[in-house]
């Protein structure tokens, strides 16, 4: 055992020492470099799982334009990394970003104008996605997908307790009580203080517009009536104790999903593979329905995530970078590869009709009618349009702090929203935006 480790370490060290010597020769901070004869190398940042497999398809077809993908930076860190790289002059050529962060990247001069190359694609791309990446008629990103929201629930647990999948928030609250009453250690869901994105989406469903832009002036309405309605609703459940309050994406949460402590999860189209990996024993036990509604018979949904591909202002090869970004999200080869390797709901309209997508049900889920992806298509239609402000990262960070404090200290969720509102307005005003 010992000697094997030493050997492995030794080999790796020698290999790296060699690459260190070689890598430092040009003394250029990892910029895309190309000799006169060699291929162009585009550097691409993404966090999507298995994206390398998709990039491979491109690299095989384009020996002259090789793409080097880097998946090390998560969605949460990518804006900070890009901003720092902008400041330092080491931007990659192409990067993924969530729609929320795109305005920030535009203001900070990271995302480049790609209208010349992409402007003609409007009729091939879902309107919601198009709107999220186009400001004032200028395209700043190629949309990759949207994220129709679902309520995923443990159909087996629900059946056992004799409850139906909730269609309204009242029914949802009832289900929460039923589950918690039946077993004090079990919950329908958790209200996660670290998931500002989820709260934003639920507020949008209730009609909130956290940011809106009218000509040159912004309105910020994070603590308005619709958001407060959502805050009050969840505060009620939390105060009753029928809903848990731990954070998502923690081992605690993963254990709770796996062992049935949590009987549902409000998430989006990309969730089923995660559920399955986390809780393989629950394969085929999950149902997926649209979000509960505020009014019986409504069909409204919010925006939970979704991302696009930007070409950065730092690229030396804008033509090639744009070509790649458009190919990545709109060509059949790429979309086919996406469907095989990752779980997305493409922004490209033709991609949504691919049989490979429509004919499958993710393994975590029960067969249903309409099928999962047919329902995704419907929900996508019911999703409200959203404008993201230029400092969403700040708003989310303030949200996490304010709601964490409210939950641990027993404070009011409405006050927490006001804290977020003030932080965002302060920040935007000091940056020089006109805020009403």
């Amino acid at each position: 055992m010992n000697s094997r480790f030493t050997k492995l370490g030794g080999i790796a060290a020698i290999a790296l020492a060699a690459s260190l010597v070689a890598g430092c020769a040009p003394a250029s901070g990892g910029e895309s470099s190309s000799d006169d004869d060699g291929p162009i190398v585009l550097r691409y940042w993404s966090w999507a799982p298995n994206v390398a497999a998709i990039v491979d398809v491109w690299n095989e077809a384009n020996p002259d334009i090789q793409v080097e993908v880097n998946t090390s930076t998560g969605a949460a860190d990518i804006v900070a990394k890009l901003s720092a790289a902008k400041e330092a002059g080491t931007l990659p050529d192409v990067s993924n970003t969530t729609y929320e962060n795109l305005p920030n990247l535009v203001v900070n001069g990271v995302a480049d104008d790609i209208t010349d190359a992409f402007g003609g694609y409007e009729d091939q791309v879902a309107t919601a996605a198009w709107d999220l990446t186009t400001f004032d008629g200028v395209n700043y990103a190629v949309p990759q997908g949207t994220s129709p929201m679902f309520l995923f629930y443990r159909a087996d647990i629900f059946e056992e307790l004799g409850i139906d999948a909730p269609t309204t928030w009242d029914e949802y609250a009832e289900a929460a009580r039923t589950i918690h009453d039946a077993d004090e250690s079990k919950y329908l869901a958790t209200f996660p203080a670290n998931d500002a994105q989820l709260f934003a989406a639920l507020s949008q469903q209730a009609g909130a517009e956290w940011w809106s832009l009218d000509g040159e002036s912004w309105s910020v309405d994070i603590d308005g009536d619709a958001s407060n309605q959502v805050a009050d609703y969840w505060q009620g459940l939390v105060d009753e104790g029928t809903i848990a309050t731990f954070k998502t994406w923690t081992p605690e949460w993963q254990a709770a999903l796996a062992d049935g402590t949590l009987a549902s999860w409000i998430s989006a189209v990309w969730a089923p593979p995660l559920i399955l990996q986390n809780a393989p024993d629950t394969e085929g036990q999950w149902g997926a329905v649209r979000l509960p509604q505020w009014n019986e018979g409504d069909a409204v949904s919010g925006v939970l995530g979704g991302s696009g591909t930007i070409v950065t202002t730092g690229t030396k090869y804008p033509e090639e970078a744009r070509e790649f970004a458009i190919w990545l999200n709109n060509s059949e080869e790429a979309l086919q590869a996406y469907i095989e390797n990752a779980s997305i709901w493409p922004a490209n309209l033709a991609g949504r009709e691919l049989p490979a997508l429509r004919e499958t049900t993710p393994a975590a889920l029960r067969e249903s009618d309409p099928s999962f992806y047919d329902l995704a298509a419907q929900i996508d239609e019911e999703t409200v349009t959203v404008t993201w402000g230029p400092d969403v990262a700040l708003a989310y960070s303030a949200f996490n702090d304010a709601f964490s404090t409210a939950i641990t200290g027993g404070g009011s969720f409405q006050d927490a929203l006001t804290t977020v509102q003030d932080a965002v307005v302060d920040d935007m005003t000091s940056l020089g935006f006109t805020v009403e």
Binding site: N108, A193, T245, G432
Partner: protein
């Protein structure tokens, strides 16, 4: 020389060359003030002028480039800010904002709250670390204790675990649903403790650093104990001194300078605490992104994208840290090392 070290020397420990006490930071710092009083003892026949600079040069160049320059750069950034040209999604440009960032930072209650939490954390982490390190060091030095070699190595092992990983590991052990600690409580019929509640979280975070640093400090103190003259013990024992008395009355006072110096490094470490709470923030509602000053700087510069505001906060914290550390050094120098004369 200090009274403490003199007593050591008086009992027969005559070090060759400079006395051990010379080695402490306090005395090194005191050297400068002491120097003018010293008479010029000897003339060096060949006094090299260039050589010392050649030896110190590489360190100075690196320190200037990698410590001083970044600090100056931070200072410059702290006076700058971003300003958006148009109203909607205009491009932001860098502008001079004077003291605005400082005003914003100093009027933010979060800054003071973070210092407060850092102090609470330090008040737990530093004394417990030093207390346990001293206790274990004395036990290791106690001849009748068994398993000393095994214990010494085992307690030192956590030092090998990176703070980020230690925080993740302990986080797992604190979290309901996966916590073996809570399982253990449940198994014996006790109520499961909330290990990361609003109050217990201070202990939870402190525990991660205590766990990681006790062994290191223990070995330092143990080595110091081993350096003490054994004859002292024999005579004390024969004089009827119990092992406990021996430890408290003879061993501890003799290694006090070492304890204080390692304690000082522990305090400096506590002032800079970052990795552990930052990692544990992702696990619990009890830690916010402005929990301690370093997290605040990191958040501003790296999460909410306000490099300039972060720079101002960083300068304020650096100043406070420097003043506090140097002040502490001065006080310790006077109190613990008995002053200069």
């Amino acid at each position: 020389m200090t009274s403490q070290t003199q007593s050591v020397r008086g009992t027969g420990r005559v070090a060759s060359g400079p006395a051990p006490g010379d080695a402490s930071a306090a005395n090194v710092a005191a050297e400068a003030s002491a120097r003018p009083a010293l008479p010029p003892v000897r003339r060096r026949p060949l006094r090299p002028r260039l050589a010392p600079w050649l030896f110190v040069g590489p360190a100075l160049v690196l320190a200037a480039g990698l410590l001083l320059a970044p600090l100056v750069y931070t200072l410059v950034l702290s006076f700058r800010g971003r300003q958006v040209a148009g109203g909607g999604l205009g491009l932001a440009t860098e502008v001079w904002v004077g003291l605005d960032n400082y005003v914003r930072s100093l009027t933010d209650p979060a800054l003071y709250a973070s210092f407060g939490r850092m102090l609470v954390y330090a008040l737990i982490a530093v004394p417990v670390t030093m207390g346990l390190a001293l206790l274990f060091a004395l036990l290791l030095d106690h001849l009748a204790t068994r398993f000393r070699r095994f214990s010494r190595v085992s307690i030192f092992v956590p030092y090998a675990v990176p703070g980020v990983i230690a925080a993740l590991m302990w986080g797992f052990m604190y979290l309901p649903g996966v916590s073996p600690i809570r399982d253990a409580f449940a198994a014996v019929g006790l109520p499961e403790p909330d290990l990361m509640g609003p109050v217990s979280v201070f202990f939870a975070v402190a525990n991660v650093t205590i766990w990681g640093s006790v062994g290191f400090n223990m070995v330092i103190l143990y080595t110091s104990l081993r350096g003490l003259p054994q004859e002292l013990y024999e005579s004390a024992r024969l004089d009827g001194c119990s092992e406990l008395q021996l430890a408290l009355r003879i061993k501890v006072p003799l290694i006090v300078p070492g304890v204080i110096l390692t304690g000082l490094f522990a305090i400096i470490g506590a002032l800079q605490v970052f990795s552990e709470p930052n990692m544990m923030m992702t696990l619990t509602n009890s830690i916010t992104s402005d929990w301690v000053p370093m997290m605040l700087v990191y958040r501003d510069a790296f999460v909410t994208n306000d490099l300039y505001g972060g720079a101002a906060t960083a300068m304020i914290i650096t100043l406070v840290t420097l003043v506090a550390s140097l002040g502490l050094l001065k006080v310790l120098q006077r109190r613990a090392f008995g002053g200069e004369s």
